[in-house]
């Protein structure tokens, strides 16, 4: 009866009198928020690789990559936009083009500039929910995140949590919770409804009929990657009037495409750059001068939109990390790689990165990361079409680096 005996013993130990808990849920939320934000600013591969970077250890990948702090050049101070400047909103699209960001900041407070990596993505876990996230920082690391959703993507009203158990409300990826517990009415933004999140440093507003945007001001002292201590709550990046001014000035309907210094060529076997049924789902980009420079793409089939992530970035002194016992050095195609930079990724997944060290660790001056999932993390089933990619090295073999001249770059990285 070993098993029953063990069960009884464990239950008995677990029933030991508990001292008061020292667990701080608010601190977990605070630190978690910083990590989520950090991954948006990490200039590395999008999707799971970026998540690995932010979380640092167990679920996906420990210490796989280290982010660098972005220190964008501060924008020249501009006049605060007028509160009375309201124009009739054009209808928002029901779906965004991942290669052409729909919105841009119109005004930022002194010291802030658009920087880091912005992402346009399809939610990997709730297909069909697109969003565009733009980041801005100042030199001290204070962060602003603007997330714009297409028409119909957000549900406005009570969340399942706010409504209580048994409410029958489904979870929603974009939820503008307007219940008093979660939100308070904010002054209208360009004549349309807006809400502050209670206890949060953000504002949401309807920028066009049925289309919403959220501006989130991070706590001060944002640190990409791992942080040693939780952020001190209550230190927000900007004041409420400034938050509203930024919101009022956001410009929609932009048509400037992202250009990429790399392309994934098609293959005869695939009939294109990606397997049948896969599509480009996420793009990371940054603003350099007046050019939107793509640094990473993510693609996948329905249900696992981040199955493949590719990035090519300028080396920043960090990059991927060799983990003894888990990683191996490989030289292939004349490039020095670290293969399988962590064993914490699902065992059949591949994580490949050029070392970024010395000429052999760079490709045309860029550091390349490739992440390829074998199974859908949600249901552990083998991904349809993934075998036709023939592994991360085969993906790299089809990558075409387009040099340093933006004139030769492409608007279609999977064309």
């Amino acid at each position: 009866m070993d098993e029953d005996w063990t069960r009884a013993l464990l239950t008995r130990i677990a029933d030991d009198p508990e001292p008061p808990a020292r667990i701080d849920i608010q601190a977990a939320r605070c630190l978690g928020r910083r990590r989520v934000r950090a991954r948006l600013f990490a200039q590395v591969a999008a999707g799971p690789l970026a998540i690995a970077l932010a979380v640092g250890a167990i679920v996906i990948a420990p210490h796989a990559l280290v982010a660098r702090t972005q220190h964008p050049v501060p924008a020249a101070p501009a006049a605060r936009p007028s509160a009375t400047k309201a124009t009739p909103p054009a209808p928002a699209p029901a779906k965004f083009n991942p290669l052409v960001p729909y919105a841009t900041f119109g005004w930022l407070p002194s010291g802030f500039s658009e920087g880091g990596v912005s992402r346009l993505w399809t939610n990997p876990f709730q297909s069909g929910t697109d969003s565009l996230t733009l980041g801005a920082q100042d030199t001290s690391g204070r962060t602003l995140l603007l997330t714009v959703y297409p028409r119909g993507a957000c549900r406005v009203g009570a969340s399942a949590a706010s409504a209580g158990a048994g409410s029958g409300l489904p979870a929603a990826n974009c939820l503008i919770d307007t219940t008093p517990k979660a939100a308070s009415r904010a002054p209208a933004i360009n004549g349309r409804p807006a809400w502050y999140a209670v206890g949060e440093d953000g504002i949401s507003w309807e920028y066009a009929p049925g289309a919403w945007a959220i501006l989130d001001a991070a706590a001060a002292g944002q640190v990409p990657g791992e942080a040693a201590v939780p952020a001190k709550p209550g230190l927000f990046a900007v004041s409420e009037p400034t938050l509203r001014s930024i919101a009022r000035s956001v410009r929609y309907g932009q048509r400037t495409p992202i250009v990429f210094p790399f392309r994934l060529r098609g293959s005869g076997q695939l009939g294109g750059a990606l397997p049948a049924g896969w599509e480009l789902t996420s793009v990371s980009f940054s603003l350099k001068g007046k050019t939107l420079v793509g640094s990473a793409i993510t693609a996948g089939p329905a249900g696992d939109a981040s199955a493949l992530s590719i990035s090519a970035i300028e080396p920043d002194g960090y990059g991927c990390k060799f983990v003894p016992g888990q990683s191996s050095y490989v030289t292939k195609y004349g490039v020095a790689w670290i293969d399988r930079i962590t064993a914490e990724v699902n065992s059949n997944d591949e994580v490949l990165c050029s070392t970024g060290l010395g000429p052999a660790g760079l490709v045309h001056g860029l550091q390349v990361f490739i992440y390829l999932e074998a199974n859908n993390p949600a249901d552990k089933q083998a991904l349809a079409g993934v075998k036709s990619l023939a592994g991360a090295f085969a993906v790299y073999a089809r990558m075409e680096l387009l040099g340093a001249d933006p004139a030769s770059w492409t608007k279609d990285p999977v064309g």
């Binding site: 005996w5 130990i13 808990a21 601190a27 706010s162 914490e344």
Partner: protein
């Protein structure tokens, strides 16, 4: 994360805090370590909340984070990311029953971390072999062998206790 999702997260963690602490206590064998482990695990849960809330079983997802966090901390000289302030007051004098509990805890503590996690998952969380294997990221065969070794070690260490105090 929007306020509504923060509320969902907070509601969930508050509701599961006792369960998480008890499981962490069995893994760590001390409350301070347990609280540190839970603090780290719920921080990670926050960063994965979008994925976690869509998981087939949110509890299973959370338990996986907890156990893997525990194993990672034991596997590597891991710099603690969250240090909770303060400690616990001195414990009252032990009773005879508490001595027995301490014997059991000491025996459990002597198990290697992965073996201990296997035993806890199988016999406290009541997970079948396949699910325990998934949480631990090892094969079902390894779970079986780790379980057998763990039980044997506990039996050897606690035979006198079992006969004299728990019998």
């Amino acid at each position: 994360m929007r306020a509504s999702r923060e509320a969902e997260y907070t509601q969930y963690v508050e509701a599961r805090l006792g369960w998480l602490r008890r499981t962490a206590y069995l893994l760590c064998q001390d409350w301070q370590g347990a609280d540190d482990l839970v603090q780290t695990a719920i921080t990670r849960l926050y960063t994965h909340w979008g994925r976690a809330r869509d998981a087939t079983s949110l509890d299973a997802y959370t338990r996986t984070i907890l156990v893997r966090t525990f194993l990672a901390e034991r596997r590597t000289p891991w710099a603690r990311r969250v240090v909770l302030p303060g400690g616990y007051p001195d414990q009252p004098a032990r009773s005879h029953d508490e001595d027995a509990r301490l014997d059991v805890r000491a025996a459990l503590e002597r198990l290697p971390p992965r073996q201990r996690a296997t035993v806890v998952l199988r016999f406290y969380c009541d997970l079948p072999v396949d699910e325990a294997a998934e949480v631990l990221g090892i094969t079902p065969g390894t779970v079986k062998s780790q379980t057998a070794k763990g039980l044997a070690s506990l039996r050897d260490a606690l035979s006198p206790v079992m006969e004299g105090r728990y019998g």
